[in-house]
Symmetry: C2
Subunit: 263 residues, 2 copies
């Protein structure tokens, strides 16, 4: 996205669903039209489209979204919520599967934008180290599942990825983070990097497409326990169980991921 969009000038902005915005439609349209894309970066589930001069479009992918660079080959899907057209006639469409945000924020107000400024460590970033990660866990009384899903800790882990992260670390979702040994913290840290990098290396999840419409290759055959209810654990053969953990579902091997009663 960064390479493709950099330098393009926005000539048109269409908001098909105003509820995705943090400002009135007219304000967004008036502000972005005429501005130029300086860069596109990301943190967790957020995209930062930096506009010149002095604005950001912040896009949250919510519970799944398609962000597509439209070409004669790549047709626009149904139910698009947002569309940008550039002065060279190229277009980008945004389609949220359920919920998602497109927020307009002035550069000077970026640090006041709560949803993005509260984001935690970027797991692919240089500051995601065993040291910075361990520090986050200190004194916390929550469970390891709630911890990894909380974007204020590590940004970008969704429920899909949480499943195999916890399995690889051999941790039960309901384990209290306070009870983790140093070895377990390291295993969790490494599992986060492994699972996310595996997905990135394969172009993302198979039910998602990238900016150019290409499907990812991280499909169910790569999952270890996630969404495998009743299947055999790849480690010990025990049947995988689906359990309720807080408001999310968890898939676990009841033998490999033991939740000691005291923890």
């Amino acid at each position: 996205m960064n390479k493709t969009l950099k330098g393009k000038r926005i000539s048109k902005a269409e908001v098909l669903q105003p509820k995705i915005l943090n400002v009135p439609v007219a304000k967004l349209v008036k502000t972005v039209v005429g501005r130029t894309v300086e860069s596109v970066t990301s943190k967790g589930k957020w995209l930062f489209v930096k506009l010149q001069p002095r604005y950001f479009l912040l896009i949250n992918l919510g519970m799944g979204a398609e962000l597509l660079y439209l070409t004669p080959k790549l047709k626009e899907p149904e139910k698009v919520q947002f569309r940008l057209t550039f002065s060279d006639k190229s277009r980008v469409a945004v389609r949220f599967w359920w919920f998602g945000y497109v927020h307009l924020v002035a550069e000077k107000d970026l640090s006041a934008h709560k949803m993005t400024s509260a984001l935690g460590l970027e797991p692919t970033g240089a500051d995601f180290t065993i040291g910075s990660f361990s520090k986050l866990l200190r004194g916390r009384k929550t469970t390891v599942k709630a911890f990894v899903l909380d974007q204020k800790n590590v940004a970008g882990i969704g429920n899909v990825y949480a499943q195999d992260i916890l399995f690889r670390a051999r941790l039960h979702p309901n384990r209290k983070v306070q009870t983790l040994s140093e070895t377990e913290v390291k295993a969790l840290f490494n599992a986060i990097k492994t699972v996310l990098n595996d997905s990135i290396g394969l172009g993302g999840l198979a039910y998602e497409v990238d900016f150019y419409g290409r499907k990812g290759k991280f499909d169910e055959s790569k999952f270890l326990v996630g969404y495998k209810t009743g299947k055999a654990c790849p480690e010990c053969g025990t049947r995988i169980e689906k359990i309720k953990t807080g408001s999310t579902a968890s898939y676990i091997c009841p033998k490999c991921q033991v939740w000691a009663s005291e923890s």
Copy 2:
């Protein structure tokens, strides 16, 4: 307090329990010594001691406290946490029964002081009207007991007063505020004013003393249902019950204060 302390110059400040402060002991002592009391006002359970120039001492009475003007006749009690001496040798002692705060805030930072700036309506103030009170209830999903105890709604109602306020309004503590009729809202509004003014008129609760050591006259004989477990309801004779409501205890007449199952 306002009349007695106005114009006095602080010559000494002693902090016997540093945990009551929001600043280091040295900072408080250095700041208040030499300053003069301009006025003493109150809002809810907070006292605002305005110092000249440009400072406030904010005192939260917590779960009961004695704030005493010490004279040869009025000796200082045990376990005082804070003491001020004025240049005319007069003294004030503060003793918290459980917890309480003495906060030092510069005048320009007063609006940034969260505990006092979040306080709701002052029930003895001119802005405590049926209109402003009704507005507070709108769209709230909480219970009437939790609502009246929350200092962000109406400042100054503690659990002692909440008992008879709810009885006078004939409301069960667990009633959802959303289900209150206009008549019930009015009854609640009037009950708050009645109960608090009754206590103020009698110099406060009998287990408290004022600035000059005088006991209040609002004793258990004036309570209608509060702390009267097993006694007869003054309205219908039914035995008063003690029930658990959230984290606080409530004393109710189970006949007069019905909690309709749908509300």
